[in-house]
Each structure stands twice: as C-alpha cells, then as structure tokens.
Amino acid sequence: MNDDYLWDKTGQPDPEIQQLEQILGTLRYQPKPLVIPRRNYFPWLAIAASLLLALLAGGIWLRVRSHNEAPPQQARIETPKPVQAPQAPRNESALNPPLPPSKRIHKPRSASSVLPKAEREEALMAKEQLMLALRLTTQKLHLVHIKTQHKVG
C-alpha cells in the first residue's frame, strides 16, 4: 500500500484509492453561495419614531395646557350705582344708538381663542413644527419600509 499517496497525493498513485476518490468524488461539496440575512432595523426604527412622536405630542400638549390655564381671577368690586327714579318710557332707538364696534359685547370664546396674539402665533408655529415632524417621520418610515421589503424580496 502506497502510504504517501494516501497522505498527500504524492508518490506512486494507488489505483484502489484513486478508484475510491473517483466514486466518492460524486458526493463532494458543491459550492453554493452563503446567504447572510441583513439585520432588520425596521422594528427599532418604528419604535424610536413612535417614542419621538409621543414625546413631541406630550410636550406640545403640556405647553398648550399651561398657556390655557386662566390666571387667578380677582373679585371685581363694583360700587352700586344710585338707583335712579323711574322715568317715563322713551323711544329707545333714539336714546340708545348702536355701540361702536370697539365697544360691542362679545360672547365668551373658547380658551384657545383668548390667547394673546404672540402666544397664539407661537402655538401655531409649534403646531406647524409638529405637522412637519409628523410628515418627515412618516416619509422616513415609508422609505425604510420600502427598503426592507426590497431587501427581503
């Protein structure tokens, strides 16, 4: 038996080993590409985006709420007016002309509408920023979703 051929394929070939190599060679490893799955970051991105949105919404809600809280009201002390003697009925339309627009009595509005102009503008700006952040986040999530689908496919 030629031990060298069995060991490192040198020396005189052993016909029996050669035959075995030929027969068993059909079972040899056939190269196949290794598919390494890429990491899927989509769930983490979605969680991060949700947390960010929740934080933004919470912050804005707190801000708006603190602005809407009415300042402590002070009791208004009015001195009673002296009661006038009843007078004869007069033509009211002639005596009570319509008030100028600046002195009209308005119905109480909602809390948001009573904000001072500067604060109202600030709230509107914050709202715009929130909407922009929401739009950006949505677009990014959409892009990530498309990329992930593409890679998986």
Partner: protein, 191 residues
C-alpha cells in the same frame, strides 16, 4: 554546544517572527469580518465549507448536509466575536459542525435516512452511497478523516491544518481507517 543551542533558538525565534509577520489567511479574514467586512466571511466560507461538509457527511444523512452547512456558517457568523484565537477558526468551526451533528441525531432519533433511497440514482451514485455507508460504520476517529480525504479531496496536511489535529494523528487515522475500509470492501465484494 551553546552555539548550536543559540542557533536553534534564533532559528525558532526567526520562524515565530516570520509567522507573526505573516498571519494566516484565516486570521486576516476573521479580523476583517469582526471589523464589518462581510466579504471576508464569504471567503472564510469558501475556504472551510468543504471541511464542514465532510464532517457532516461522515455523520448525518446526505439530504440534510447542505442545509446544515448553511446553518453552521450563519451560526459562526453570529458568534464569531466569541472566537478568542482567530487562527483557530478551523478547529472552532469543525467543533461546531460536530456538535450540530450530535444535536441533529438527538432531535431526530426517529428519522430514517430514506431520502436518498427514494431519489432516483444511477449505479455510480449508489456505489458511492454504499461506500459512504461503510465509512460511516467505521470508528468515529477514522470516518471523518477518510471522508475529508476521499470525498472532499483534501490531503493529510490540509486536514491537519484545518481541523487542528496533529499531522501524526491524521496520518494514523488515514492509515488505519483505510485498512479497515479495504477489509470492508473486500468483505462486500466477497458476497
């Protein structure tokens, strides 16, 4: 005498230095993969897939081998950071393959290898399967070495380098395994 010893020492140091200056390809590739180079792992796969294939072929049904090879390399990719010595990638992945083969048999005790029998095959292929079955019947130390040599076409020194076994062990396993296989083949042909 001292001069000879010094010369030997110097020679050994020079050899070690030479080895340290030029790390094995596995070391370079493992380091590259750990730094994020996926192509490096593809090269490791190309280098070591025949070894893993041979180790599995000596132990599990042939129909399961290809899937297991992929699984083992994916596992190795995820756990590569746990490999302490980059030069020991071969012995490490060989051990993973052996353990996976043991797990396979533990989980599927009832499985009978009928897949190969059900498949249509020519005479050459069926002869190969018969001989493979004979090799699988040999003691464990011999069957892996024989499959790597006769099926995967690796030489003894390559088997030693990839599996981490000593060259002497591989040589003995090949010699004794081949002797037993010849006896088995003679027994078969005598029937």
């Amino acid at each position: 005498m001292y001069a000879t010893a010094d010369m030997l020492l110097t020679s050994a140091q020079a050899h070690a230095a030479e080895q340290s200056q030029e790390p094995a390809i596995e070391v370079v590739l493992v380091r590259a993969v750990l730094e994020g180079d996926r192509d490096g792992f593809a090269r490791l796969y190309d280098l070591y897939a025949p070894l893993v294939h041979g180790i599995l072929l000596a132990r599990v049904p042939r129909a399961e081998v290809d899937d297991l090879v992929q699984d083992i390399f994916l596992h190795a990719f995820k756990k590569l950071h746990t490999l302490r010595d980059a030069a020991a990638f071969g012995p490490w992945i060989a051990m993973i393959a052996r353990n996976r083969a043991v797990d396979f048999h533990r989980r599927s005790k009832e499985t009978v290898e009928i897949n190969d029998d059900l498949r249509g095959s020519d005479a050459h292929d069926s002869r190969a399967k018969e001989i493979l079955e004979l090799i699988r019947g040999l003691p464990e130390a011999y069957r892996e070495t024989l499959v790597l040599r006769l099926v995967e076409g690796m030489t003894g020194p390559e088997i030693a380098a990839r599996t981490g076994l000593t060259a002497a062990s591989v040589r003995v396993n090949l010699h004794r395994g081949m002797k037993l296989l010849r006896e088995q083949l003679g027994f078969m042909e005598g029937l």
